[in-house]
């Protein structure tokens, strides 16, 4: 299912053309770096693809603190970059400030909505995707006990939690769901401890939406699998089975940040930048969803159910709450 959405913007163009030579695209991440194995990495991979496909030059700056956001963004503005990305919810205020101060500059942000004529905002309907992995979890659990590990308690992550909760409830109303917020996106040790506690409590599936903190969830699961217990993790943002292996990754709630970055950036190159607009990518845009590798661990009948629910959500028959 991802493949279909995945190729659209990039594949239609003759790849390798240098039509965007001299075009400069920059991105600023918050404190997590570009290889966090999930969110930021996905964004950066998107930009790298744009570079490979169009010859545009791309660059990123990692912030050392909140105070760095604005100067980092301004660095690109000053260097006359054609487009500057702010990656992540936390960059919202900085993008807003810089956009207002530099009305001629073009900016874009992921995961947050910035109201400014020169900013394109991209958000995802995480709750829709999370609903589907909730369905998977609800149908797969043997112990009727499921966990969720969140990073920061922020709206984006709340959407993950809400969708997941509803998905589980839809197919398995009796399942116990433990919610744990670690308070950080970059602390695998906290993720590990949270997962350990939840697994100890009898859960056999944990869904994480915690960036690098989630790596700890995988580590804990691996530990248990090695010692012969069958537990699963549901990954986030990317197909995390590729990083952490099929023996622990049940499936992932993919968030096509890379596609969003590619789409908006190529639009700009093509002169179709939609400043002031908010693009929300949901199930129907294939902005969120399950990876194809899911077939390895998720039984076909469960995947069938997933497809059913997917159709219902797209059709509007089911409305997934955001909170």
């Amino acid at each position: 299912q991802e493949g279909a959405a995945g190729d659209k913007p990039a594949a239609e163009k003759p790849s390798g053309s240098k039509k965007a030579e001299g075009f400069k695209v920059g991105m600023v991440t918050d404190i997590g770096g570009v290889n966090d194995k999930s969110f930021n990495q996905s964004a950066w991979e998107g930009l790298k693809k744009v570079e490979a496909d169009t010859g545009a030059s791309v660059k990123y700056l990692q912030s050392k603190s909140d105070a760095d956001f604005i100067p980092n963004l301004n660095q690109y503005i000053k260097d006359k970059y054609n487009l500057t990305w702010g990656i992540g919810f936390l960059m919202g205020d900085a993008i807003k400030t810089v956009a207002t101060q530099n009305p001629d500059a073009k900016l874009a942000i992921i995961d947050n909505v910035v109201e400014a004529p020169n900013v394109e905002s991209v958000t995802f309907a995480e709750h829709e995707g999370a609903y589907l992995v909730g369905v998977v979890a609800g149908l797969t659990t043997k112990t009727n006990n499921i966990g969720f590990v969140g990073g920061l308690d922020i709206p984006v992550i709340k959407r993950f939690e809400a969708g997941f909760r509803e998905g589980v409830k839809a197919v398995n109303p009796n399942a116990k769901l433990t919610i744990n917020y670690t308070g950080a996106f970059d602390k695998p040790d906290l993720g590990k401890a949270a997962a350990a506690t939840i697994y100890n409590d009898g859960a056999d599936i944990v869904f994480h939406a915690a960036g690098a903190t989630g790596n700890g969830v995988f580590n804990e699961a691996k530990d248990r699998v090695k010692s012969g217990k069958k537990v699963w993790v549901i990954g986030v943002d990317k197909d995390q089975s590729l990083e952490f292996g099929d023996d622990v990754t049940l499936t992932s709630m993919i968030k096509r940040v890379d596609q969003a970055v590619i789409r908006v950036t190529t639009d700009l190159i093509d002169g179709k930048f939609q400043g002031g607009k908010v693009v929300t990518l949901g199930l129907k845009d294939d902005g969120v969803g399950l990876p194809e590798t899911s077939t390895k661990n998720v039984p076909a009948d469960v995947l069938k159910k997933v497809d059913e629910y997917k159709a219902k959500i797209i059709s509007g028959e089911i409305k997934v709450p955001e909170k």
Binding site: L61, A67, N74, F89, L90, D93, D153, I154, P155
Partner: protein, 358 residues
């Protein structure tokens, strides 16, 4: 004033200069090992700091809280205490300023000072708490400060979440304009750099540091307690209350750093995932500045410029900005182990003029 000069030149200025030079050289060496061109990198760093009015203003913004946290650590050091808690005091300072800045709506002539004072006092109390636990319960201030740093982080997050949160955001509402420390006209002149009155507060802080410690009765007591608590007791001073006061004043400085960050830079307070780090950097600044106010200001300028400039290095020369920590670390190393620097300076000096280095 001559007194001030004596404090300044107590250790010949050559040692810090030599240490800075050696630190930069060591950084260059590490860059060479990593396959980078240090000359290009340092040029990019300088360009980032002095290249435009905007960047200069932002560098000043980076320097300002470092002056204050440096003073916070130095002040405690002068009184025989190790204030590793500037981090938490900083956060409490932010919180105090945020509460008053957001929850009150007053004419600026009252509002702004009130917000500043609220943050300063909250930072002071946070420091004073560590002092109190040391004085009254004999708990080592280093442990309590470390624990209070974490406590402050989560307490501040709680306060923001529970009372100040802008719905849908990961931060508080913005403070009222009347509490802002931003210098609008100057900021405009400097390409919207976030310059603010807090820099003046920091410099005034350095002056007050000097006056309090060396010109007042209170400072006399604090220093006496710092150098020799037994003699202070003999002289009729209340050692315990001076410990609390010293930590309180240190906390006020660190709190002010947090205040200016909120009122001058962000105008809101985020729910923080981790500590901002100004407090820990303050330890380095204080040590680099020899615990004296002018030294602290100079050290903060060095430290802040290097830190701010490092982004330019990584932008223009692709050098990982972490290299700057290595540079700063080695500068401090050479200042601490001044024997090495002296050993290197002596032959150079011997040539120009004969002078017995003590």
């Amino acid at each position: 004033m001559d007194k001030l000069m004596r404090i300044m030149t107590k250790d010949s200025a050559l040692v810090p200069l030599g240490a800075i030079l050696l630190g930069l050289l060591f950084g260059a060496l590490v860059m060479l090992v990593g396959g980078y061109n240090p000359i290009v990198a340092y040029a990019a760093l300088l360009d980032k700091v002095f290249g435009s009015a905007y960047d200069f203003g932002e560098a000043v913004r980076e320097i300002t809280p470092l002056i204050l946290t440096g003073l916070a650590v130095a002040f405690a050091n002068r009184t025989g205490l190790f204030n590793i808690g500037a981090e938490g005091q900083f956060i409490m300072g932010m919180t105090g300023a945020s509460i008053v800045g957001i929850k009150f709506d007053l004419p600026w002539i009252i509002h702004m000072p009130l917000a500043v004072i609220a943050g300063a006092v909250l930072g002071g109390l946070w420091g004073g708490l560590a002092g109190y636990l040391k004085a009254k319960r004999g708990v080592n201030e280093v442990i309590t400060s470390i624990m209070l740093n974490w406590t402050a982080l989560f307490l501040a997050n709680y306060i923001v979440n529970a009372f100040l949160l802008q719905p849908g955001q990961q931060r508080s509402y913005e403070i009222h304009e009347s509490a802002s420390l931003t210098i609008g006209w100057l900021s405009e002149l400097m390409g919207n750099a976030r310059v603010h009155w807090g820099t003046l507060i920091a410099l005034a802080g350095a002056a007050i540091f000097y006056i309090v410690l060396w010109r007042t009765r209170q400072g006399y007591e604090l220093r006496a307690v710092g150098h020799n608590p037994e003699a202070a007791r003999y002289a009729g001073m209340n050692v315990n209350s001076n410990i609390v006061r010293a930590m309180f004043i240190g906390g006020v400085f660190a709190g002010l750093a947090g205040v200016v960050d909120v009122l001058g830079v962000f105008h809101y307070q985020t729910v923080m995932a981790g500590s901002p780090g100004y407090g820990f950097d303050g330890v380095a600044v204080a040590l680099l500045g020899g615990n004296n106010p002018i030294g602290v200001v100079l050290a903060a300028i060095l430290f802040g410029s290097l830190t701010y400039g490092s982004a330019g290095m990584s932008f223009a020369a692709d050098v990982p900005p972490e290299i700057i920590r290595v540079v700063i670390g080695s500068v401090i190393f050479f200042i601490a182990a001044h024997g090495i620097v002296r050993g290197l300076i002596r032959p150079l000096k011997g040539k120009s003029k004969k002078e017995g280095a003590a």
